[in-house]
Symmetry: C2
Subunit: 333 residues, 2 copies
């Protein structure tokens, strides 16, 4: 195992300390509670937005804490759900009196723990509503999931809903938009290589030198099928056609296209993928209205990519374009 | 070789097409000339800023084209200098009548080709001045270099000088700042793995499972020494102490700290590195005033990192903080 770490058991807490040291103007880290909180939280009168999940998917979610996106993130151990105590601490830290939204990726542990945290928060008279993302078209149920897995749309949802919440919108309006973004977004991913969880010390799964996994999950869970390596153009077809079909995308519609790297794939390859994606969308007369390219929801050093398409409406575009100031996403001109 | 590509010989041009398709509001790509140009270039009265070099280091340089940073980038074949014709085409495309600055990393091919382009531009009455970056403290001369190699400081220089040029500053002022940033910045890198140039189809060099290369170049050129794997804390010491010594950093000074990934290293590891760096700087009473963490000057899918420290002055801070709107760097709040 070749990694830039000290001890496997220290990776998550040391990375949090590194974030705190390098971004003090944006975030603070509560080491005891193991949460990342927006520096100026709680913001009075603003809906607080909390997300979280296993570590190993950086910059998601901690890199998305800051004005215009999340108010707090709860990182679990690598590929392991955070616990309700973390979520409750985050809820208290961001409660500005207007309610709190939990953004939860659909994995059994995350869903249960966020539900428990919501009950604990309710007992403290903090109104909490969860929205669960489940955008992965690859498989119906899977290793850690009842129903579809939550993947790339989570990043887009956190940005768009974070933009709306920043305006002082009501919890009801924030929930409505969050549900709509989840409903209108679909994703599918693939891997060229496995990744190695530090505490395990060996690859999560084995892939032959001439093989790839189509429909991979972000923890290395099995996808749809294992096939021979193929050119980028064929890979993108395997990912995009199920998405277009599932979303019922029609000619003339406009989408946000998100080409995501799994952690070990260089940007030049993501742009080769992006080029194939753009060609397919042109062929369907679907308008590529907004885009995001980079490694935003990752699986440690896995090589591979995922594609997310989000059917856009005017409100989503407005808050996608809104200013954001977090360690991993910044915008404002 | 496992890569998300179609054919090795198409990678660079297809990735450029992908950039053009996904970022039409920021850049345009002249496919015949093989250059990336700011969408609104030339900007009248503004010093044009052109950089370039071999591909395989993405997002550098094409991802840095846009308001507040570069006016054009010239990507060569992978790890191969672009040619003077590209640079001349870029120079014409960005010439707003106030002169043009070339930002050139110190590799023999790049330096010669940018010199030749400057002569061709002079024959067309376009005033061009080159600033060469040479911030790598690892080795004096190397495989492709007379003198020190240009690495991480190039990213910081392009951002800072781009910010100044955006204000309409004179070519002389832009050159002065560019030279100062190069003089005040130093870097050193390391690798856990090699990378594979697509056209070669096999790793550039071999590293044992228990080895790493300290002082690696961004094309896989040999560094200072090959040593056994070590914890992150020791790796950071090996990289930072030569930088601090070479810069003569004194207690009380303030720096920008840039923790860069080589392409295949996940962000969580970069933050473990960042944490160790922050501890060393605190130990020297050096103020970590600004930071950048991520994979910005890469070597394809190489696993590893580099550290750059830049001694800051007020002007550098002003233009580091200035708005920027490029595919890879955005800021504005």
């Amino acid at each position: 195992m070749k990694k830039l770490i000290n001890r496997p058991e220290g990776v998550v807490s040391e990375a949090l300390q590194g974030m705190a040291a390098l971004h003090p103007e944006l975030i603070r880290v509560d080491e005891a509670a193991q949460i990342i909180v927006r520096a100026d939280a709680p913001v009075r009168g603003k809906v607080g937005i909390v997300s979280g999940g296993g570590s190993g998917h950086e910059p998601m979610h901690g890199g998305f804490v800051g004005p215009g996106m999340l108010d707090a993130a709860c990182p679990g151990a690598i590929f392991t759900s955070p616990v309700p105590d973390q979520m409750l601490a985050a809820t208290r830290a961001v409660n500005g009196g207007a309610g709190v939204l939990y953004i939860v990726k659909n994995y059994t542990g995350d869903v249960l723990n966020f539900e428990m945290a919501a009950e604990l928060a309710a007992a403290e008279n903090i109104e909490v509503v969860s929205v669960v993302t489940n955008d992965d078209v690859a498989v119906q149920d899977s290793l850690y999931t009842a129903g579809r897995r939550g993947v790339g749309v989570t990043v887009l949802l956190e940005k768009i809903v974070g933009g709306l919440a920043e305006t002082g919108a009501s919890l009801e309006a924030v929930i409505d938009l969050a549900r709509r973004v989840n409903e209108q977004g679909r994703s599918m991913g693939m891997a060229l290589t496995s990744c190695t969880v530090p505490a395990a010390g060996k690859p999560t799964f084995e892939l032959g030198d001439d093989e790839m996994e189509i429909g991979i999950g972000i923890h290395g869970e099995p996808g749809r099928r294992r096939v021979k390596l193929a050119p980028a153009a064929e890979i993108v077809e395997m990912l995009v056609h199920p998405i277009i079909a599932d979303l019922n995308l029609e000619p003339g519609e406009r989408v946000l296209a998100f080409v995501n790297g799994m952690g070990g794939t260089p940007l030049i390859e993501l742009y080769v993928i992006a080029n194939e994606l753009a060609k397919i969308l042109r062929g369907h007369n679907i308008s590529l209205s907004r885009s995001l390219v980079g490694s935003y929801i990752t699986s440690l050093e896995m090589a591979g990519c995922s594609i997310t398409l989000l059917r856009l409406d005017d409100e989503m575009i407005r808050y996608w374009d809104a200013p954001v100031h977090t360690p991993a996403l910044r915008r404002g001109m």
